[in-house]
């Protein structure tokens, strides 16, 4: 069953917390991964791969650069999940 937006954001928060050590409550829709959450380009790849596994979705390299905010990622996952 497809995850709801809330489940996706919560899941992303857990992933970002595990990979970059950012408190889960800081991971909000409007937050930029690089500017607000201090997730650098390589950690972003780890976040993407973890999100792929968790939400059963493929996020190609070319699309990763368009995922600037948590909201961008949540929307992408919602749209592409199986």
């Amino acid at each position: 069953m497809a995850a709801t937006q809330e489940e996706i954001v919560n899941g992303l928060a857990e992933i970002v917390n595990e990979i970059a050590g950012i408190p889960v409550e800081d991971v909000q829709l409007d937050k930029s991964f690089t500017d607000d959450l201090d997730v650098d380009s390589l950690s972003m790849v780890e976040v993407v791969v973890a999100a792929e596994e968790r939400f059963d979705v493929k996020i190609p390299d070319d699309d990763v650069k368009n995922l600037k905010t948590v909201g961008d990622a949540a929307d992408y996952i919602a749209k592409h999940q199986v």
Binding site: L42, M44, V45
Partner: protein
């Protein structure tokens, strides 16, 4: 039809000795920062690299190889005349023909061994090791010298803030010889040519024939795509090499991945769930990425510093431009 006599090789092969050469000049991040807008902290956090060695004019591909080979031959306890094959992996020897392996073979006093260069980027050591094992077991050479050597500083765009800090120079060599028991496992190797653009030389050499070339060719890469492939796809290859050797990560003493970037190494270790007792090579911090030279250089340093010892079981994996990869389990010399 005449009956052809088969060749007689050794039952198995092993790495008998290792040697390395690092150029005299140590280049700290401060020097890199003279040509790019970055910071020591940024470079360290993205790559784990603090210093690297850059070769002088005298520290040529041949010179560095000869130094490393001399140490490897002494470590193996054989003499140069016993070497029956010399395999050199490099992408930064700028005289395409003849192969630099022939000059090295001659100058180390190896006589007239089979000698040739291969091009397999950062997987070059594993490719060379696999060929050498085949030669020893098949019987076409008793002892084979495998050299990984690079002067990547010559292929570095010092104004590219994504790569200027990455690369270093050096040579690493091993002697592969006969063994009564298997000490080099099956190689899991391959290529993914559909990803050839993710790590590549900016322009081909023959562009110089068409007219003035704006910049000397340099190495360039798509950082995120390479990182994803190196960590997550290569972790699968590393696991396959363990499986092929019939061991698990619990049996490992040492992990020597290609020293591309500390972040790749850390992430691979996490993805592979390597046990705490496994010593991980982190030579990239003071050597940078030396492509084909990185695994033997890291191996030599682990043994020299006592972090690893002779007889330890090590997983080695190289991966890079091609894209190509090679992973195998070996017993350390």
């Amino acid at each position: 039809m005449a009956k052809i006599r088969p060749s007689q090789g050794a039952p198995y092969a092993r790495i008998m000795g290792v040697g390395g050469y690092r150029p005299t000049r140590v280049v700290p991040n401060e020097v890199i920062l003279e040509t790019i807008d970055s910071s020591d902290e940024w470079i360290r956090s993205r790559s784990g690299i603090a210093t690297r060695h850059w070769a002088s004019d005298e520290e040529t591909v041949a010179m560095m190889s000869i130094e490393a080979s001399g140490k490897a031959i002494a470590d193996a306890g054989i003499t140069p005349e016993q070497i029956g094959g010399v395999i050199v992996s490099t992408v930064s020897h700028f005289k395409q023909t003849p192969a630099v392996a022939t000059e090295i073979a001659d100058r180390i006093g190896a006589g007239k061994p089979a000698a040739f260069d291969i091009s397999a980027g950062c997987a070059g050591f594993g490719y060379g090791l696999t060929l050498a094992k085949g030669m020893v077991v098949e019987g076409s050479a008793e002892y084979v010298l495998v050299i990984g050597v690079e002067r990547l500083s010559d292929l570095t765009d010092l104004e590219d803030r994504a790569t200027a800090f990455l690369f270093g120079d050096g040579a690493g060599a091993v002697v592969v010889g006969p063994s009564q028991d298997p000490q080099i496992g099956p190689t899991v190797w391959g290529s993914e040519g559909d990803k050839s653009n993710t790590i590549t030389q900016t322009v081909p050499w023959d562009d110089y024939r068409k007219g003035p070339v704006e910049r000397f060719p340099a190495l360039t890469q798509e950082g995120q795509a390479v990182f994803r492939w190196a960590v997550f796809e290569m972790a699968k290859i590393a696991q396959q090499a363990l499986d092929a050797a019939g061991i698990t990560s619990a049996d490992l003493d040492v992990f020597i991945p290609h020293q591309a970037n500390m972040r790749i190494i850390d992430s691979m270790v996490k993805t592979l769930k390597l046990p705490e007792h496994v010593t991980v090579a982190r030579d990239v911090e003071t050597t940078g990425n030396t492509s084909a030279a990185s695994i033997p250089l890291a191996m030599e340093r682990l043994l020299a510093t006592g972090q690893a010892k002779s007889g330890d079981t090590a997983l080695v994996i190289g991966f890079g431009a091609g894209l190509v990869y090679a992973a195998t389990v070996v017993t350390l010399p």
